[in-house]
């Protein structure tokens, strides 16, 4: 009897926690389908009287949010593809190629993890300005093309690739690049998937650097566009909720589709997403 009461209590707590967690997201979704002004009428209601796509139409037709969506997609996809290649090459070298000072160099990279990115942002902006990359997609992409966490994640995985396998390929006369491409990369598929999701989400959600380096409205990413819309449309609750849906939905969908390898990767590497 006591055990039963405990089980009921446990599930009540789980469900209550879930409701509190999901409420802001569900309300966002619901309010985005309301007509203008509906979220601020009395008596309050949580579900739209007559669902409408009016807010989305406004966002894309009048406020050009589609352009921000494309900016975000371009930056996130390019960053993900290139950084997978660059990080995996470095991670492989740190795990499986022998060279002098390897451990010391890797230790130096790891130590850099506690330096917050903001410390370098002011000179980084001046550097981008000197390279004429301010206000370009490359200005937003380049700094994220390699990450210590990504290299670390790949290296940990590569350590489990048996050295004999690589030696065998070498004896057969395969060059280092061939070994990396045809032997190592296929084996590393799971960790590459994890890293791809991590990178995509981090880049998609990133705010401070795009805010600094992209000053032209036409190049704003979704988070930057949202932050600037808040200023002008602070009272258009339904419109802002539709904007939030457009911003959040892609990452949420990617997460739900691939969550198993994502969460497994987090637990294995304990890396910040």
């Amino acid at each position: 009897m006591r055990r039963r009461a405990w089980t009921v209590l446990l599930h009540a707590a789980l469900v209550a926690g879930g409701a509190v967690t999901l409420f802001p997201l569900l309300w966002m979704l619901s309010a985005s389908f309301m007509t203008s002004g509906e979220a601020t009428t009395f008596p309050p209601h949580l579900v739209p009287h007559a669902a409408t796509l009016e807010q989305y139409r406004q966002l894309f037709l009048r406020l050009n949010l589609g352009r921000a969506f494309l900016s975000s997609a371009t930056i996130a996809v390019t960053t993900t593809l290139f950084s997978l290649l660059i990080n995996s090459m470095a991670g492989y070298a740190f795990a499986r190629l022998r060279f002098g000072g390897r451990e010391r160099l890797f230790g130096l990279l790891l130590a850099a993890l506690i330096i917050p990115a903001q410390v370098g942002m002011l000179p980084l902006f001046l550097l981008m300005k000197a390279l004429h990359l301010v206000n370009t997609y490359w200005g937003a992409i380049l700094p994220s093309l390699a990450s210590v966490l990504g290299i670390f994640l790949i290296r940990q995985f590569m350590l489990s690739v048996p050295q004999e396998l690589l030696e065998a390929a070498r004896i057969e006369g395969a060059g280092e690049w061939r070994i990396y491409r045809s032997v190592v990369m296929p084996l590393a598929r799971p960790v590459l998937a994890t890293l791809a999701i991590l990178t995509f989400m981090t880049t998609w959600n990133d705010f401070m650097w795009p805010l600094i380096v992209l000053s032209d409205q036409r190049r704003y990413t979704l988070p930057v566009a949202m932050a600037s819309l808040v200023g002008e449309h602070a009272l258009d609750i339904e419109l802002m909720m539709a904007g939030a849906v457009v911003t959040v939905l892609p990452v949420l969908v990617v997460f739900l589709a691939l969550q198993r390898s994502y969460i497994a990767g987090l637990m294995a590497g304990s890396v910040k997403g």
């Binding site: 330096i115 917050p116 093309l145 959600n205």
Partner: protein, 290 residues
């Protein structure tokens, strides 16, 4: 063997070039910048740049706005950090409970806020906190409590931001705690039960000590992240009301990219860096002592 070293150099070159050029160089340059009077005029004419030694640091440390920002950042981190860790641990214990069903479902639901875009959910919370129409105040009024002007009241703006941060981040730490909980050998609990320990004492004397390293990791990651508070106040309050939510990074952003006082802003950034290093070292020392 020499062949391998040469291959390694080629494999490492792109990553080291990116990290060197876009991370290490700016960090070093940032320190140099903090020793200069780089401002709006210098931006137009580099020859106007002057070396001012530690003058910026002295100016920052004398500025009351800096201490306000640092105080706000510490308030956010010292209240929000432990609160987030506590909620994370609670959620992990619930999801991990032996009697719990639908574990993957709850795990996914609790984790969902972590992957959302901070700016977007900050916009959502801005409206949830609305004193007249927001769901939170409606619930408060429904319970017979007074409504709170969350983002307009200097006393409540920071707690409002803390609640958003807890909601957004607890799922991440929960996953790390789950990994830690699942690594505790079942025999330890059995031995405790044989010794007559109830659920609470098992938690106190088995679970908590065994989670020591997990606490350290979660604590350090949370502290580093929270001390860099920026998008939440940027979107919800822009540092207001009365600078009560102005964070250290936000001060750096305003000084550096709004007023172009880049030498001064760099000094702010490095002082924050020192605080972060101190917070990390303190937690490591504390863990070692126990």
């Amino acid at each position: 063997m020499r062949n391998e070293a040469r291959a390694a150099a080629l494999f490492l070159a792109p990553a080291l070039a990116v990290l060197g050029l876009f991370f290490f160089l700016p960090v070093v340059a940032g320190f140099a910048l903090s020793l200069t009077d780089f401002d709006l005029y210098t931006l137009g004419d580099f020859h106007a740049l002057r070396f001012v030694a530690l003058h910026n640091y002295a100016a920052v440390l004398r500025s009351s706005l800096f201490w306000t920002a640092l105080g706000n950042t510490l308030y956010f981190s010292l209240v929000g950090g432990p609160l987030t860790v506590a909620v994370s641990l609670g959620a992990a214990l619930l999801v991990n409970a032996r009697a719990a069903r639908f574990k993957p479902l709850f795990r996914t639901v609790y984790f969902a806020p972590v992957v959302t875009t901070l700016v977007a959910v900050a916009v959502v919370f801005r409206f949830l906190y609305h004193p007249r129409f927001g769901a939170i105040d409606r619930a408060l009024v429904g319970l017979g409590l007074p409504a709170i002007d969350w983002l307009g009241d200097p006393r409540w703006a920071m707690p409002a931001i803390i609640l958003l941060a807890v909601w957004k981040n607890f799922g991440y730490n929960m996953i790390i705690f789950l990994a830690g909980l699942q690594a505790i050998p079942e025999e330890l609990y059995e031995a405790a039960r044989i010794d007559g320990a109830g659920a609470f004492r098992q938690f106190r004397h088995v679970t908590l000590p065994m989670l020591g390293p997990t606490f350290l990791f979660v604590g350090i990651v949370t502290a580093i992240g929270y001390l860099q508070l920026f998008p939440e106040p940027y979107v919800m309050t822009y540092g207001g009301p009365l600078n009560r939510t102005l964070s250290a990074v936000m001060l750096m952003y305003k000084e550096g990219f709004r007023w172009w006082r880049m030498g001064y802003a760099s000094a702010v950034a490095f002082l924050l860096c020192l605080v972060i290093a101190a917070a990390t070292a303190l937690q490591m020392r504390w863990q070692e002592r126990r």
